[in-house]
């Protein structure tokens, strides 16, 4: 009789330990999951957050610098360097079935009231810019030939000599893997880490 009681007590103790162990295990698992979820959420939030970035060092060297075309050189002699410019880089299908890189750029000369459009270096349009007096324009610290198609972020930063910039990731519903950047008198956009658009902005006093 006494033996039976001892066995029952021992079994109960064993069960209690098992229940306790199971409970602790579940609790540990829940805590682990919660921490994992928080870390994952935080990482997502961190990746999606707009950031101000201070450049620590200039690592990249531009492998394939752009050379101005004869048309562009002619316009430099006529008008000088542009007071603002926009460059789009993209690809087009070719007759042979492949793709060709296109460099579409618009150079703006506000003080001379003219805008020049070049496609792959060829002057395709010369449009008047209609505007009132805007004060004294700041000299633009960038030149079109500093930027080449599909440069990496490091290359753009090094080529433009940027100290700090804002990085704004885009929702995939707008443009998958797209990011826009802002620096002093400069904005540019990248897709998949490749430069697709850059604009040097005119400032005045």
């Amino acid at each position: 009789m006494t033996d039976c009681r001892e066995i029952t007590v021992k079994t109960k103790k064993k069960r209690s330990w098992a229940v306790l162990g199971f409970g602790c295990g579940c609790l540990f698992l829940i805590v682990l999951l919660a921490v994992g979820l928080l870390l994952y959420a935080g990482w997502q939030g961190y990746k999606e957050s707009p950031m101000m970035v201070e450049v620590q060092n200039y690592a990249a060297q531009l492998e394939d610098p752009y050379t101005l075309s004869p048309d562009q050189t002619d316009q430099l002699f006529s008008y000088g360097y542009p007071e603002a410019f926009t460059i789009l880089f993209y690809e087009e299908e070719t007759l042979s079935g492949g793709t060709e890189t296109v460099r579409l750029e618009v150079w703006d000369y506000y003080s001379q009231a003219v805008g020049l459009t070049f496609i792959n270096g060829e002057l395709t349009a010369e449009d008047p810019i209609e505007m009132d007096d805007l004060g004294t324009l700041e000299p633009l610290p960038y030149y079109p030939e500093q930027f080449s198609a599909f440069m990496s972020l490091d290359e753009v930063v090094a080529a433009a000599g940027i100290d700090s910039y804002a990085e704004i990731p885009l929702e995939k519903e707008f443009l998958k893997d797209g990011v826009v950047y802002y620096a002093s008198a400069l904005t540019f956009g990248m897709v998949d880490g490749e430069l697709r658009y850059i604009e040097a902005l005119a400032l005045s006093d």
Partner: protein
Amino acid sequence: MKTKSLVLLLVFVTSLFPLYPGQAESSEYRSLEDATALMYLSDALLLEESELDSAASLPGLFSYNYSVSPATPAENMMNRMIHAAKMERNDLDANCQLLVSRFSSEGNGCEVKKVQSHCGQVRTKLNNRISLLRKLRGDRRKPLTKMWHSIKRGSANFWHRIGPLGRNFLRQIGPETLKIVVSGGSLSGGVLKNLIKQVAKSVGRQHLKQVVYQGVERMLMGQIQIAQAAGVDLCAEEVQEEVTTTKEDKKEEEDCSADTGWVNAYWDEVVFASLVEENRNCQIRAANIYRSCLQDQAINGVCQEDAVDACDQAYQSIPKNDAGGSVSLSPDVVHGDAESVSTSLTYPSAGGAVSGEFFYILKDDTQKCTITIRGTISSGNYNPVTCSMSGTASLTSIYEGIACPGVCGPSTGDCPKTIQGNVPWEADQENNVLSGAMGCNAGDPGCIGFITGQ
């Protein structure tokens, strides 16, 4: 047995994920559209808050007595992305019209078709983008999603602490990006300059349009060349037809080509009346496609009767203005922060009296001010010929909270404050979109902009 099942499950689950992320992606080339999307967004991120809502083509509808800024940077960003897509769509329409009229005047019918087809495709893509972003914005206002995003924001600080040096979160996208650009690349100090695109907005807008126009024109000409090289050539078919035309036919064609002015007269005397009668006159875009078709035919020397036959499909494609009878709509309020929105608008398709009511609440991000806005149409009339409606409405704005700048608060008198009055309202129907405004003039107690789903 259990182990075997587990292994099989593991194999199955593993196969659901690609080995490399790149494998799941399509091998599309780097498109002009991606580059222009970045350009428009970049521009939108430099705008001041008050400029954002002017994206729609209805000037004057979107100014408010009291501007409430978006609750979070993410929502602000979303609004700017929608704005950018809308601006791109507006410019696309303008550029397409320019290209169509240029090619039409040069007598290049096949180029016109190519432009129309390309523009239609890009427009659909942009509309999809806008819809997706709107849906995303709506989803993020749901309580659970809101909670998830607040967890993300909170936990992101951990990664910020252990992440690379020299990185700080941006809190106010628009003002901060502008400051970085105009103050020498930082948020702390620097002499603030004027951004020319901000000072002379028309120049900035023209610049964007010009870049896109050049790109689209070149791309289309390239595609036409490729199509020609592949033997798919609309122009060549036209040439072939010309060659095989008999001398008699040629004479007739020459007779018809002497008169291209019939399109306008035919439109004014016949087409417009038919469109009104068939309740299809508010479909401007589709009607313009039909008109372009007639013009192309006329330019190519096709006689009126044949041209009308040739363009019949375009005419039949013009959809109805609405379902007919008494039409009831529930338009969206044109304000990104409107909450508890309730709207109704009813009008007779054949013309007549309009009724409706608009209600929504605005809250500022610091919870200091809540504005309850209600507008009730007291009189109004719909004109089915002009596709417009107008009348008067009773508009009430109730300002509650601690401080509503310019209306009530410590310096301007205690809240709550109610402002009420009768205001004019008007709306237009175009391409299945009804858009309008109530109030919005100086001295009105408020301003409600509304639009049905686009």
